[in-house]
Symmetry: C2
Subunit: 159 residues, 2 copies
Amino acid sequence: MKLSTKGKYGVRAVYEIARHFGRGPITIKEIADRQGISFSYLEQILHKLGKAGLIESVRGPAGGYLLARKPAELTIGDIVRTLEGPIALSHCLEPGEAGDCYQADDCVARMVWTKVGAKIEEALDSISFEDLLTQQQVQQKEIILKPKKKAALAGKGVC
Amino acid sequence: MKLSTKGKYGVRAVYEIARHFGRGPITIKEIADRQGISFSYLEQILHKLGKAGLIESVRGPAGGYLLARKPAELTIGDIVRTLEGPIALSHCLEPGEAGDCYQADDCVARMVWTKVGAKIEEALDSISFEDLLTQQQVQQKEIILKPKKKAALAGKGVC
DNA sequence: ATATACTTGACAAAAATAGTCAGCTTTGTT
DNA sequence: AACAAAGCTGACTATTTTTGTCAAGTATAT
């Protein structure tokens, strides 16, 4: 039950694009630097999000990426579904593959994975990038108020 | 966002044990046959569930596996957590690894994965094996009432 | 004793993940 | 027109995870 780096990087990248909202396109390089993601790998990820219509690209000098919608209309779920495929916990729930289960309508597991999958979708779709921007502002204030906490941090991992 | 076969086989295996509840131990072989799972692989899975205290084993002839609790007190979440590890969508949320994220309390992604993870746990824990047994009885009735649907099924996949 | 069944650890093929790399196309600027 | 910035695209590869298999045990009821 893990997300791949694609999903995680994707959310963080789009978050950077969202932070840049209203200030023209942001380049892959800038996103990669800010988030510590490989440039080449990020290219792949952003391209996929672009093809899905979630972000838009501007070619040529001073180009880069833009949100295709307002931050409030773009959810974590949009990004995760695009990069990780449909949330089908079990193979037999993927579109077009339903008939593969030899137990089919006698299958109790099917009910379980359907129900849990729906809950996951619900959770992912309930969080927009505007929520993230708001959240970031709150956290920023907290850091200013308690600057000592920041000193304790080190390491190279990322969320 | 897929479950591994371990989690899926685990749920189906425990479901078989639950169906056998009150009738003494059921053997690995019988579970493997009924659910079409490799005997050796299932051994590993059941052993892990046994060590976690979710099921109990009886050795010797006429031995096998039993539920360690009543079906109503055993949830899908218990099985999935044991077989797939804690539901930590991102590495940085695993127990003991929190400090690894270089962004730590400035990290908005962290909030997201925590929130979604909690929803998943909630969904998994809301389904007990008693629910599955009840569900199965309902489905069984439906099959008897509409026997024609069953004829349309084929293939080898499983949920 | 012995047959049945669980225990444990080592091993291996196959698939998915996480990148890397090279060369291309588009477009604004001079 | 030429150039450089920036995205586009597909092929390739190393690593890790998954999905098992196999073999040699240990425990126990009859």
